[in-house]
Amino acid sequence: MANLLDVQNLETQFQTNEGIVHAVNGVSFALKEGETLGIVGESGCGKSVTVMSILRLIPAPPGRVVAGKAFYAEQDLLQMPDDELRHLLGSHISMVFQDPMTSFNPVLTIGRQLIEPLEIHQGMSNKHAYDRAVEMLSLVGIPNSRERLSAYPHQFSGGMRQRVMIAMALICSPQILIADEPTTALDVTIQAQIVELVKRLREELGMAVIWITHDLGIIAGIAQRVLVMYGGLIVEEVPVVELYTNPRHPYTIGLLASLPRLDAMEHRRLASIDGLPPVLLEKPASCPFAPRCQFVLEHCLHENPPLRTVGIDHYAACWVDPDTRKER
């Protein structure tokens, strides 16, 4: 399958009072047509900053994309003139944010906000745009969609608001949907509704999805391929089944061992990862996970491992083979 989006060596930094924070330190990945790519990691690992950088949504200052390329349809999104990019965002590539409460304009009706992309990107007349908005709201499962168009964001519950958000993102039939922790603010039963919704829409509309989350449970049910991020780097790129059956990076292994499972047979002590995630005031010169790693070797403290092939479509940035505890 062809690559829809191709990101190469992305680096993003933030100027803060404490110094320069190296949030993303050379991230490369590709998104294939029609697939769901999961990006997982803990807070501060750079997962959101990565996609925000690609879409040039990083507030500058303090943020700055210092290096990298992001090709979409043979054009580099990072070099493109602003007005061309604006034409792509919302129509070819769109985004759903974590907090459905703060991502709407509270003083405009849902209808007004839904049809805006249609009028701007497709030059649709008001009447046609309204019909399309009604259609879209029914598609995401909002009852009485025609009446609901004149409602304001605060009149919707959290789950419903996230549905409207998704309708807005999909209204111009984008090829890429980027979902940044779309269910984190929602309850589990509502989360299940939203996950099912996105899965169904992806199949119906044939788009590719980038799903960012910190929840290794959700990603199991939705993604085909997963990037695990730590310290502003991709530490493992893995097909979703292998993520759980054969994790190769010590961080991924540790993270999975620290999760209690609903289908666990008996009580076991959770394996915790000692220590804390790195404060990225310097670009990591050695492996960023080394201080917390149970497999750490001398080499890890001197050189940052690149992503290397460890299986079919499976890459890990680690010097060590966790089976033998020796350098690979």
Binding site: E42, S43, S157, G159, M160, D187, V188, T189, I190, Q191, A192, Q193, V195, E196, H214, D215, L216, G217, I218, A220, G221, V240, V241, L243, Y244, T245, G254, L255, L256, S258, L259, P260, R261, L262, D263, A264, H267, R269, L270, A271, S272, I273, D274, L276, P277
Partner: protein
Amino acid sequence: MAATDILIRVENLVKYFPIMRGIIFQKQIGSVHAVDDVSFNIIEGETLGLVGESGCGKSTTGRAILQLQRPTSGHVFFKEEDLVTLKRNDLRKMRRKMQMIFQDPYASLNPRMTVGEIVGEPLTIHGIDRGKELQDHVDQLLHMVGLDPAYANRYPHEFSGGQRQRIGVARALSVNPSFVVCDEPISALDVSIQAQVVNLLEDLQNELHLTYLFIAHDLSMVRHISKHVAVMYLGIIVELTDRDELYKHPLHPYTKALLSAIPIPDALAEAKRQRIILQGEVPSPVNPPSGCRFRTRCPIAQKKCGESKPEFREVGSNHYVACHLV
């Protein structure tokens, strides 16, 4: 279970919050039925998990047990003592025996107090220690929760989320309580840090013979830490049993749906699962549905579910359910 093993006995606990209108001439126009007739026991030395979605009344239940919010009606017995009828001074003495660990380690610690002051404050208030003894005691508490006693002079903002939660644990345990309400103690923490705090809570329970009420919305974590689990929905407990029974043989349709909605971190297991996707959302607790509160979203609801409230009854050994159709 022998009656003597029961540490906390909650009987018909009700907590309504009034909704007022008007500024000077205030008038009550309704009430939020946050907790509506809840009864359960917590056995000494065990953990009862209390799960449910946001707004179901689980935190209010925890607070009402500790009398941080006085219940509208009902009783809470700590051993033989009814906390609801206690006067302020007597209640204050009881607080030594029951403490709380809060959800947000960023909001629950006073930013202007040093860690030593935070952890030592309950000891001073209850007149347990002073001077050098107090300092030693604080050092010992910090050591117990895995923090370096040298940190006693630092302020909360110098610590990470997981470390702050350890400070919260040290403060709660400073007065040597026997019962601790843990109100979502790990939900604000990162995944790799959650396991650290849960392990700490488990170790302390074994060491100090603590009894926990563990409130959470994360069912996999509740399953991990609890002996018994109660599932709440819109102010009532819909199912209560021991954890293995609950996860193997859930009876209430809400419990079944809730369990099926929890993702399992394993793609193969996940692909085989049948999901029960509940329609709609939780109704408002101001005006809860008549009869069974879950009937508006229940996949198997029948006519009688709207007519009468299902009784919370024992259907198997130690397995309680509130559903007409079980």
